[in-house]
Every structure is written in C-alpha cells, then in structure tokens.
C-alpha cells in the first residue's frame, strides 16, 4: 500500500528513467492549468522587459534615498546571482571564492579611477577593463579545476578567497608600497563618467537615482548575453558537462576549457557588479567582502533554482527583501506571521487539518498567555506595543517576559530546533499534534530571541534556508530537477 504521505513524482537518484524534464509536462486541471500554460508560452524577453519596466517605474512611487539604495543593492545581488548561476548552475562547479571576484572588480575600478595612483580613466574604459581582469583571474582560479573535482575544487576556491582577503587587508605595505590601502580601504573613488559627463553620486546626500538605472541597464545586458550563451553550443556543452563529465569528455567536449569558461564568465559578471558598487559608494573596503556575503548569494541561487536565470533573479529579490525587512523589528514581526500563515496554507490547503492546526495554535497560545500572566505579571509584560495592530494583538498571544532569564534563550531555541527536526520524522496526526506547540514555541522564540538580535537572526535564517531547500526541494523555485548518474 502506498503511503499517502510519500513524496509524489520521481525521486532523485532512484528513478532516473522517469525524471525527464522538458516538454513532457502534465497539465494541471481546470483554470490553474490554463493559466499555467499561457504563462509558460510567454517568451523570456517579454518577462524581462516587463520586469525592467516595473523597476524603472519604482522610483516614481517610492522616492527616498533609502529605497533607492535598497533597490540598487537588490540589482547588484541579482547580478551576482546571475554570475554564480553560470558557475554553479550551468557548470556544476562549486565556487566558494566567488565573492573574491566581486572584490577584484571593485578594487580594479578603485585603482583605475581614484586618487590612489592618480589614474582617472573614464568609466567606459574601466568597467570593461575590470571585467577583463576579473575574467582573467577567474581563468587562473579555474586552472586547478582541470585536475580537481567537487570538494577539492571547492576548497581551492575557498583558499583563493582567503588569499584575496589577506592581501587586501594587509596591502598597505606590500613590498614597501601601499597597494590596497589595507583595512582602511580606498576612498575618494571617482563616480561613473558616461559619455563625457560625470554622474554625481548624490545630491545633498541623497543617492542619485541614475545609478539605479545604470545598474539595471547592466543587469539587462548581462541577462541577455548569458541567455544567448545558454542557448548556444557552449550552454549545451555546459549542461552536458554538469550532468556527466565523463560522458561529455568521451563525446569530445573540451571539458577543461568549458570549466575555465564557466569560471571566467561568472567572475566577469561579479567584477562588473563590483565596479558599480564601488562607483556608487565612492570607496572600497576589504570588510565588505566577507564569507556571509558568499552564503547570501548561494542562498539566492539555490532558493531560486540553480540553472534557471529567472529563478536566481527571483531568489535574489526574495532574499534581499527578506534581509531588509529583518532589519526592523516591527516589520520583521509581520513577516514572521505572514510567512507562517502562508506556509500553513501551502502545506494544508483548505482542509480540516488547517483549521485544526490554526485553531489549536491560537487557542494554545491564548491559554498559555493567560496562565503565564496569572502566575506572574512580569512574565507577560515585556512587549511594548509598537503602535501597529499586529503588535497589539501579539501582546495578548505570545508570552514576552519583561526580564528574560539568560537560560531561557538557549533552552527555548535549542528546543525549537529539536522539535522542528523531530517533526520531520513524524507522520499523520502525530505530526499535527506536535505542530501546535512547535508553532507557539516558534512565535515565542521569534519574539524573545530573534527580534532582539536581528543580525545573527538573518544569517541563521539563511543557513537554515540553504539546508532546507537542498533537502526538500534541491531544484529551488524555478530550477530543473537534476538526476546525477553515478
């Protein structure tokens, strides 16, 4: 008898013959199916044009330097995700030194257009130069890939990243000269100079919206160029390399060359992103290129779907917005409850089980809150209403003590992680029964532990996302299911 809770569809590694992707797609019934078919018929460049248009119109609606900065950062993330997609999604190579190429582009631009060496080349020269340098270093770093596979290659690229960090952090006396400015970085970098005019970075301190447009233009160019590369012979060669390197080699593909190309392309895109960021910030600091940034980009690519360009762009936007929202405790609270509800709806649809879980959790919470409040006033007095309706409602539901004993934080957090893991082992009504207290504990931990410290929280969420996506849905949102013939 088939277990109704077992995963439907081909299982990776087990049913190779069944896991065919591409044109054989079962239509979904009813209206959803029609809509899906229509959407699938829209060509990719139409989506791109629509998206670009929407972003261009954004400054008309939201006009503040802060929003512009966030939008710019998001476009940069999109660029970085596109570049990493080439290496990881198409080439199947784990490149852990990717952020170093971002930094190489940034520093190259700073070298060529600042007071450091008194070079002030126009942007029309420096940007392609920086991309070329990035691509060349990508080639260099890719050289070991000819003899190393998988894990070893990952480590070599990671070490390259460390080397980059060491050199930039200590570059203020390389052989006696100040090359990279060391930990103080390079400041007074020129803004972009396009077509003879200099583009001012900011007016009265507020960022110039033109930089957003330039970044967007770069994004469009890169997206289109990479799409063409994907649909060309090189793209098909990359895909065959990713699926089975041995077979690819037997078919006569220049495997080493393909790997190098993947590295170089990804590095060049990262370098381009680096130049734009440096121009806007008018400075470059080695502290901007740390490991957490690498994991962030990886999460974007994996979440969106490695191998799918539209997917990684979507992943970039989602994660970027998520990180921004997590900065403000008030917004973050709303995000938590929204995501929680969405997740429940997605998991249970509109079934009786959903009602049970939702009703049960709310009831459980109200009871627990009342009990805790009755036992000790201070146990529920901690949440100062932040004016919003959600904040007000939350004060009656979640237990937020005024003074949190220090042992509560680690115990509740570890408890939550343990319960969540146990949940994945249970089935049926056991699972639902355990879900109710787990959800309440999650809300408790969110309010008391995570909102208090947004900085580690965002990275904890990223790390958990990475693991969860890899385990539950490795192809991400828009990626294609991959089957590796071992």
């Amino acid at each position: 008898m088939t277990d109704p809770n077992e995963q439907q569809g081909p299982r990776i590694g087990k049913d190779e013959w069944v896991a065919r992707h591409g044109d054989n797609r079962a239509r979904r019934a009813g209206i959803a199916g029609t809509i899906e078919e229509r959407l699938r018929g829209v060509p990719w460049w139409a989506w791109l044009a629509l998206f670009t248009g929407a972003v261009c119109l954004l400054p008309l609606g939201v006009d503040s330097g802060y929003a512009r900065r966030i939008a710019f950062d998001t476009v940069i993330y999109m660029l970085l995700a596109l570049g990493l997609n080439v290496v990881v999604g198409w080439g199947g190579l784990l490149d852990l030194g990717y952020v170093a190429f971002f930094g190489v582009g940034a520093y190259t631009y700073a070298f060529l257009s600042s007071d450091k060496f008194d070079l002030h080349l126009p942007a029309i020269l420096t940007i392609p130069l920086a991309c070329a340098v990035g691509g060349a270093i990508g080639l260099l770093v890719g050289l070991p890939s000819r003899r190393l596979v998988g894990d070893y290659l990952a480590i070599v690229t990671l070490f390259f990243f460390q080397i980059f960090l060491t050199v930039t952090n200590n570059g203020e006396n390389l052989f006696g000269t100040d090359v990279t400015g060391g930990p103080n970085g390079i400041i007074n970098v020129d803004p972009l100079g396009l077509f003879g005019r200099e583009l001012p970075v900011s007016t009265d301190g507020v960022f110039n919206v033109s930089y957003l447009y330039v970044a967007l233009a770069a994004f469009v160019v890169v997206y289109v160029a990479l799409r063409f590369a994907d649909q060309s012979r090189t793209g098909r060669a990359w895909r065959s390399l990713r699926e089975d390197p041995l077979a690819a080699e037997l078919m006569g593909m220049p495997v080493s060359w393909l790997k190098l190309m993947a590295f170089a392309f990804g590095a060049a895109v990262a370098a381009l992103a680096g130049t734009l960021v440096t121009a806007l910030n008018a400075s470059v600091f080695p502290q901007s290129f740390e490991f957490p940034l690498l994991i962030t980009i990886y999460t974007m690519v994996i979440l969106g779907g490695a191998g799918s360009q539209a997917g990684v762009v979507m992943g970039a936007i989602l994660i970027s917005v998520l990180l921004e929202v997590l900065r403000e405790p008030g917004d973050a609270r709303g995000l938590f409850y929204a995501v929680g509800l969405l997740g429940l709806f997605a998991a249970f649809r509109f079934s009786s089980r959903l009602a049970v879980v939702l009703g049960g959790t709310i009831a459980f919470g109200l009871v627990a809150h009342a009990v805790a409040g009755a036992v000790n006033d201070m146990w529920t007095a901690g949440l100062e209403g932040d004016g919003s309706r959600l904040g007000g409602w939350a004060t009656h539901w979640v237990i937020v003590p005024a003074d949190l004993a220090s042992w509560v934080t680690p115990v509740s957090y570890i408890g939550l992680v343990a319960l969540t893991l146990v949940l994945t082992l249970l089935r049926g009504w056991n699972r639902i029964a355990l879900l109710v207290p787990t959800l309440y504990l999650a809300a408790f931990v969110w309010e008391n532990v995570m909102l208090v410290k947004p900085e580690p929280t965002r990275f904890v969420i990223l790390g958990a996302l990475l693991v969860a996506v890899m385990v539950a849905r490795p192809e991400g949102i828009l990626g294609e299911k991959r089957v590796e013939i071992v």
Binding site: G65, N184, L194, G205, V214, Q287, S288
Partner: protein, 394 residues
C-alpha cells in the same frame, strides 16, 4: 531563429541605451531643507554596532544614549525620540551607508550620534555632510576623520573623544618617560583602529630612539603563542591596541607562560576591569574613572537604576556626552530659528560653539578651534593592581 535573436539583442541594446541616456538626468527632489517645528517630536539616530563581534560596544552606548535622552530632553524643552541603527562590523560599511540614506531622507532626524566605527564614518561622512546632517561620534578615533583631506574630514563630523593622534603619542610618551622603555613591540590586528593607533605610537617611539618591532595578526586570532615567542626576551613593553579585553588578558598570560618579562600596554579598547585584570599591565583611556567625580554620582546612580546588573564600561559615557552636545546644538538652532529648525545645517553650525560645564568625562568640554575634536584632550594611563582595580598613574 537567428533573426529573432538579433532582434531581441537589438531591442535590449536599444533599451539600455535609452536608459543610459536618462542617466545623468536631474536627480529627484531632496527633502533635507524643509523646516521642522521644535514643538514636534524630533529624532536623533544612534549608529553603532549593536550585534556582531563589537556588539557590546554598541549596546553600552545605546544604554547611555537612552539615559541621556530620557534625562536631558525635558531639560532643554525638547521632545526627542532616539532611533538605533545597527552596523555590525562583520558586514563592512554597507549597513552604515543604507542607514545614512534612511536618516538623511527622514526630515525629522536632526542629528546623528555616531557612526561608532571609524570605517563607517569614512564611508558615510560625505553623505551626511552633503545632507547637512551633524554626526557626532562617541568612539570613532581614526586621525584622518578630523585631520584628513576635506573629503574625508567633513565639517559636519564631530567627535567627543580624542583621536588616535592623541592616544598613540601620549601612550608612547608615557612609555618613554615613566617606564624607561628601550624596546617596544607593537601589535596591530589588521583593522583600522589598531593599525592607526600602532602607527601613531610607533612614530613617536622611533623618533625618540626607542627600538620598535612591529607585528601584525588577524583580528580573529585568539591564540597568540607564536606571536609571544617572537617577543624578544629583553623587550620592555608590548603595545596591544585590541578591542577585545579578553585577548589582552590571554596575551599577558601567555607572556608569563613563556617567561617573557614584557608588560602589556593596552589602548582604550581593552579598558574592562572584569576582563583585563593582569597585575602590572597598563591601560590607557580617554577619561579617568567617571565615578571619581562628585557631580557624576547622581548621574551614575540614575543610570544604574535604569540598567540593573550592567557594569560601568568606558564606551558608554561618551555616548551620553554626545547626546548632551547634540541636544545643546538642537536647542540653540531652535532658539535662533524662533521655535523651528529651518535647515538641519543650522544644527551643524551650532555644534562647534557648545560648551558643557562639568561634563561626564571630567572637566568642561569644548571643541578645539582647529579641528572638530575635543579641546585639550588627554589620555589617562592606568596600571592594574593586584586586586584587579585600575590605578591612575599618568
């Protein structure tokens, strides 16, 4: 198929050309120059690392800034809300830049306390200056922030603690005159604070003929064994400008373990009696123990009541002073503008002339005429006694 591709490529290029030509178009209107009534709630923002490796600094500053706003705002007849922006050091200058945009765009923000780290100041000072927003830092000590080129040392940046160019030489001079040091090892941690301090101290030592050895290690190092081995047996002092007092303690212990006679000399970042308590070591700080001043008693008692269980550190009181200076300047701007601040630049203009009598850091506080640093700032040297207390020696 090929033709379609060329069409698509041409479309893309055309679109980007159009986009690029709009670049350089007039920027959007700026909201910094609108008048704000002093009767409404004004905001000041504290920009400091609240989480991450340097989070303890920011949290201390936040507790004192909160206390300052709570006790002083009413005294000046102002309604002030304190905003807190988190700039963890692990994320580089990016959070500081995003926050700068946020505060610059909010016209009810009339002053900024911070940024706390020199790197964040370097990345955002121009933004604040262009927007005319005064930013008063309680802890960014890099010399070039007030003495550098005009692009780096802007007129809107002030600090209430002396820069590295005071601390380095004052420590060095103490080593030469009072400790008779002939050989000094200086260590930096490859980040702006320690590199700047070590550079400043080394220059003075070298000029006075002391043998100096410069070492460097990553800021993430916690086991200093090999570094300790490199310390010569006849070195007198090891200058250790760390921002982690535990590292200073460990280093000193490892010196003892390997039988070296050199003593540890820490900067203001190591000032923490419960963590750095190795007998015989030296610590420098920009203020003597603030509880030594009689007029601070009530202040400290009030703060302790609001923050039960918190220890009195050295990073917090300057934040209080920064609040005081900021509120003073805002009040002056309000008075001159007849009950409203016409332009945030009015606040900037009034900061320099502020005098705070009996400031929390001791003595009267005023700014130097030559730079946006405190006037006649000096550093105080302490020696750690066998019972762990810090004794003022210089």
């Amino acid at each position: 198929m090929k033709r379609q591709r060329w069409i698509a490529l041409a479309l893309a290029l055309g679109a980007t050309a159009a986009l690029a030509s709009t670049a350089g178009a007039s920027p959007a209107r700026v909201s910094g120059a609108q008048a704000v009534s002093c009767k409404s709630t004004l905001k000041i923002a504290l920009v400091t690392p609240l989480t991450g490796g340097a989070g303890f600094i920011g949290n201390e500053q936040l507790s004192w800034a909160k206390y300052g706003v709570k006790t002083l705002a009413a005294k000046y007849g102002l309604k002030i809300t304190l905003l807190a922006g988190d700039t963890p050091v692990e994320q580089g200058p990016a959070p500081a830049q995003a926050l700068a945009q946020k505060y610059v765009g909010d016209k009810s923000v009339v002053a900024v306390l911070g940024p706390a780290t020199s790197g964040a100041v370097a990345a955002t000072s121009k933004t604040y200056f262009d927007a005319g927003l005064a930013h008063i830092s309680p802890s960014a000590t890099r010399t070039s922030l007030t003495k550098g080129t005009p692009r780096e040392a802007t007129a809107a940046f002030f600090r209430v603690v002396p820069g590295d160019y005071i601390q380095g030489p004052s420590d060095a001079n103490y080593m030469i005159t009072k400790l008779n040091a002939k050989k000094v090892v200086l260590i930096d941690f490859q980040e702006p604070y320690s590199v700047g301090l070590a550079d400043a101290a080394q220059a003075v030592l070298k000029a006075k003929g002391v043998t100096t050895i410069r070492e460097s290690t990553s800021v993430k190092t916690t086991d200093f064994s090999s570094l300790v081995t490199k310390v010569p047996n006849d070195a007198d002092i090891v200058f250790f400008p760390s921002q982690q007092p535990e590292d200073a303690q460990t280093f000193g212990q490892q010196l003892l373990e390997q039988g070296k006679k050199a003593k540890v000399f820490g900067g203001d970042g190591t000032n923490s009696p419960d963590k750095f308590k190795l007998t015989g070591s030296y610590v420098s700080n920009f203020a003597p123990d603030i509880s030594g001043f009689a007029y601070n008693k009530a202040l400290i008692a009030g703060w302790k009541k609001d923050n039960p269980g918190a220890t009195l550190g050295s990073f917090g009181p300057p934040a209080y002073l920064a609040v005081q200076v900021a509120l003073n300047a805002i009040k002056k701007a309000c008075d001159l503008g007849n009950g409203e601040i016409k332009d945030r630049r009015d606040v900037v203009r009034n900061v320099k002339r502020i005098v705070v009598k009996n400031s929390i850091l001791g003595g009267d506080f005023r700014f130097s005429t030559k730079s946006n640093d405190p006037l006649n700032a000096k550093f105080y040297i302490f020696q750690i006694q066998s019972n762990g207390t810090y004794k003022l020696v210089g």
